[in-house]
């Protein structure tokens, strides 16, 4: 047996930009080319030379690394660094343009929770369907069925169509199926971003078990630095499609966080940030501008204007702002309907903006992730940008009543007063 479970050599993936809209595509063009083929035979060369070159884009280039059996490798990188492309190549969803991958053993990949779940089918039926899609045999699924159900905690709703499930139940069931796969190599994308904290913990524990107990190799992508540090032996930092650094998780995370330091600009454009989840295209957050002191000051008023565009009429809009720590755990959420429940209805498509004011910023000095989002009345996500920017909070002249620390702890205003006995007293036991 060779030393590595996963061995990647000079891997590259090229995409053609604007493929869908390009004039060179589409049926009409294909037919035209076909019709002109006879003419082309006579004037070969000249026609071909005049064809415009398509714009190319390397999502991944010259990527090489090895993963030892039983190792848990974390992959970090900003949005668009090529993490998802790498996982897609490793899980054979798409083929590489150049390079070579060698995998020792059965591979299972989990790029999304509940792939192939059908809303009309019951939980029970979906366990079988999803298991089969992930590569389990019917016998295997039957054998593990009870275990899966127990892990998912949805026993009571097994015969209910999953479209009636809460999103938490849905995710739990989906992860339960995936967690009971028994591959030698497991590839996991940011699937833990969903689900509540307690379940996240359970999943992380399960994944840890997978690698520690049975010597399985795990490849894990996450923006949650806490989870990465917790789970991974080593990490690989991708930047602009290339490997920037491979090494022990702690040092990679440190370097990565230092490099991707806090934003220095008062105006932050949001329109072109990649969207990974949520949003139905009716609303797009386009920018945020800080109107108060910048960098933000601990204990001081904070004011910011959030600009967004709508493309159709939307009822009961809420814009939300949140601060998370570097590990991605949300510390503070402030939605526009929080104080008085105001949710405007935006009848006209166009540019809108909303100004948010916090009288006294409770965040302790440090670096935080800014989360922004918009939703409509039915809690339907219109746009969501977790970690839109990193912001530094610097000390201010005053100390606010309550303080939110980066570890999630809150110092409240108020106090404790003690009443301590001065004389010894004999108490009935």
């Amino acid at each position: 047996m060779t030393a590595s479970a996963i061995s990647v050599e000079n891997l590259g993936k090229r995409y053609v930009i604007g493929h869908q809209k390009s004039k060179d595509d589409g049926l009409r063009h294909a037919l035209e080319q076909l019709a002109r083929a006879p003419a082309r035979w006579f004037q070969r060369g000249s026609v071909r030379a005049t064809r415009p070159a398509k714009r190319e884009f390397w999502a991944l280039r010259d990527v090489s690394f090895d993963v030892k059996p039983g190792e848990v490798l974390g992959i970090v990188g900003r949005n668009g660094a090529g993490k998802s492309t790498l996982l897609k190549l490793l899980s054979r969803i798409t083929a590489p343009t150049e390079g070579r991958i060698q995998l020792e053993g059965r591979v299972a990949s989990l790029l999304e929770v509940g792939t192939g779940f059908h809303p009309e089918l019951t939980g029970r039926e979906n366990i079988f369907l999803n298991g089969a899609i992930l590569g389990m045999t019917r016998v295997e699924i039957k054998r593990k069925f009870d275990e899966i159900v127990a892990f998912s905690e949805v026993e009571k709703f097994l015969d209910t169509p999953v479209k009636r499930y809460s999103s938490g139940m849905y995710v739990r069931l989906a992860f339960a199926v995936a967690a009971h796969l028994e591959p030698e190599i497991l590839i996991v994308d940011e699937v833990l971003a969903v689900g509540d904290a307690q379940f996240q913990k359970k999943c992380l524990g399960k994944m840890r078990d997978v690698s520690a107990r049975s010597g399985r190799t795990v490849l894990f992508v996450s923006h949650n630095m806490g989870a990465l540090a917790n789970l991974c032996d080593s990490a690989c930092w991708l930047e602009k499609g290339r490997v920037r650094q491979v090494g022990p998780t702690r040092s990679i995370i440190n370097d990565y966080l230092t490099q991707n330091g806090p934003s220095r600009d008062r105006v932050l454009p949001l329109a072109s940030l990649p969207r990974t989840s949520g949003g139905d295209g009716r609303l797009k957050l386009t920018g945020i501008e800080w109107l108060s002191d910048f960098p933000l000051r601990h204990g001081e008023p904070m004011r910011a204007r959030i600009d967004f565009e709508t493309y159709s009429a939307i009822e009961d809009v809420t814009i939300g702002l949140g601060f998370a720590n570097i590990e991605g755990t949300r510390l503070l959420t402030y939605d526009s309907d929080f104080v008085d429940g105001t949710r405007p209805t935006l009848r006209q498509p166009g540019r809108h903006s909303v100004v948010v004011t916090i009288d006294s910023l409770p965040l302790a000095p440090g670096v935080f992730n800014l989360d922004l989002g918009g939703k409509s009345s039915d809690n339907h996500s219109l746009d969501y940008l977790p970690g839109a920017a990193q912001l530094e909070v610097i000390p201010g002249p005053s100390t606010p009543g309550s303080i939110v620390r980066p570890d999630g702890g809150v110092r409240l205003s108020g106090g404790w007063s003690w009443d301590i006995a001065e004389e010894p007293a004999v108490l009935p036991a």
Binding site: T94, A95, R100, I101, L121, P161
Partner: protein, 273 residues
Amino acid sequence: MNRLVIEADRTERQYWRDLWRYRELFYFLAWRDLLVRYKQTVIGVAWSVIRPLLTMLVLTIVFGKFGHMPSPGVPYPLLVFCGMLPWQFFSTALSESGNSLVANTNLISKVYFPRLVVPASSIITSFVDFSISAVFLALLMIWYHFTPAATVFLLPFFIALAFALSFGAGLWIASLMVHYRDFRFIVPFIVQFGLYISSVGFQTSSVVPAKYRLLYSINPIVGIIDGFRWCILGASQPLYLPALGLSLAATILLIITGLRFFRGTERTFADII
């Protein structure tokens, strides 16, 4: 331990082994489609019977009563239904498998499995409809006190042929649909025209002039429809061998080219879809 090597510009050697490993997925995808199909409908599976029944009634009235199409030796509804059976199978299999890749976009872009499973399993789904209709045909024959010919034992051959023809054509449409959604509009046309162009509503030998018969039989489904009638209804529907030969040749051609085209484009499905 099985080793997997992925290299640029090389088709995987593992493919056929993988297809075997994922054989249960054929069953599960077909099972899902069947389970889901009649959810939230009132009469459910009855639709599988009602659809061919209504088409048969319409054809019987239009062709038989108004058009006075001849049907020597057999009740006209039986003639129509024997033609409907393979046609309905072919047309639903073609549209379903043609649409199947695009309909399963979420799977294709998120999980690996041999993509061939998708169009293949949608043909299995259509085959279930076919079986239900076949039972209905049996009832219709009992109603007319019609004893099937001895040749009915050759029917499995023609069923297999219809299966293969739909699969070959379905592979083409499915992979073309990934690139060109135009086929979403083209396929319904093929299906609509095909019903009238093919010999569903009439008997080929008594309607199509002999000198055009060979030309007419280029449509590969004609040979299959005639074959069905010959098997079930017997000697009154003589088998025209050149038509059968053409169907066979077209089927083999479509399967071979379809598989090659599908395998060739398969690697890029996830990028384009």
